[in-house]
């Protein structure tokens, strides 16, 4: 069965950049799949595939992610659309990319139908990727890091009660850089989303630190408004 049109039409795909923030091993990971089919068979790629007629873009992204990695139940956010005419050797294929930040231990990888294998890679140790996926990953990483400066992203990956040090480590792992302790404390308190608890850490070998919680109401408000670190 074939479909014909008066004008040439592009193939339309979705790609899902899933970041896994592993606070224990202080690693920011990304989920990749080993392609089973040509082009780029045997190469690693961001999970994704063709949008089916009748699907919305996020529906297609959720389906492809499940089919290729077994991952479900993540909050996908639209990242960017990639339409360079030469980005796919099969011809004219435009891709709408999505991204999400999850806790990798809650989302173990399981390769499914269209992929040989699905696996977490540290973002600074990814193999050579198929298509323009290295560029898509770069854009996703820049977006994730950019968001951290104006939205309380990834906070739900921390324990419910946490120390400022743990929060700083989250920032440091995502940003891939060390931060100045004093400056970090100043900026975080200025965001005004933390509630100081009348509790300190238990069972730690070093001096126990103060525990904090997020002020749920202010946290939600911030998520909606997207307040910045600077302004």
């Amino acid at each position: 069965m074939a479909y014909s049109y008066d004008y040439e039409r592009p193939g339309l795909t979705v790609d899902c950049v899933i970041f896994g923030l592993d606070l224990e091993s202080e690693s920011l990971n990304v989920m990749l799949i080993e392609r089973a089919l040509e082009p780029f068979a045997g190469k690693w790629a961001i999970p994704g595939g063709f949008v089916h007629k009748g699907e919305s873009l996020p529906q297609a992204a959720i389906r492809e992610l499940r089919e290729e990695t077994g991952i479900t139940d993540v909050f996908l956010e639209q990242l960017y659309s990639f339409g360079d005419p030469k980005r796919d050797p099969r011809g004219w294929v435009v891709s709408v990319a999505y991204f999400a930040l999850v806790s990798p231990d809650q989302h173990p990888a399981q390769a499914d139908t269209d992929a040989r294998e699905a696996r977490w890679f540290a973002v600074n140790k990814v193999p050579r990727l198929a298509f323009d996926h290295a560029q898509i990953l770069e854009v996703a990483l820049a977006r994730l890091r950019g968001k951290l400066t104006y939205a309380p992203i990834g906070f739900e990956l921390l324990p419910q009660k946490f120390t400022i040090k743990q929060l700083q480590e989250l920032y440091e792992v995502v940003l891939g850089t060390q931060l100045d302790n004093r400056n970090f404390r100043k900026k975080i308190f200025a965001m005004d989303v933390l509630r100081e608890l009348d509790e300190i850490q238990k069972g730690v070998p070093h001096r126990a630190a103060r525990l904090y919680k997020f002020d749920e109401k202010k946290y939600r408000q911030l998520l909606k408004q997207g307040l910045s670190f600077q302004l």
Copy 2:
């Protein structure tokens, strides 16, 4: 001549939300075109159209904008892709939206090939729009306003030397709301991009205010760091 494929493919369009910031009349405008063709002939819409094979997405956006409004030479930024299966009565059509902020007096509207008329409308007085363009406009407006809180957007629309009051008016017009003077001054100075000049306003009936310039270097740095929605 017809093109056929094994699977159904979507039509792919680009749409360009062009905001015009008119500081004189304190109005935030958007450029709309009156559609000449069905569907929605005679209705107002965001300028845009089908991507041609061989074009990149921004190339298509620039071409459509020129063809439908005569506007050239604007910095288009990708906004979002819209793919609801029911968004277009012609069938499956996915649209990649772009947006820009310009000075309307530098970009007079001239309807061209595919549009009957092109005209600026105040964003709070737009007519009923074709397709899902009301939703696209809403997303663009939210993005523009969101950006203002973490990036120095639209500053290039001010005179080279300006008062804090003028800068505040820019913010107020884009945000469509009054801001507290003292709070605004505090936040703007905290951004650390202004250079105080040894000059005051001339020829004003009221008490002359201090003039400022942007610190080019810091401004560029902010544009680079702060723009997380951009490539």
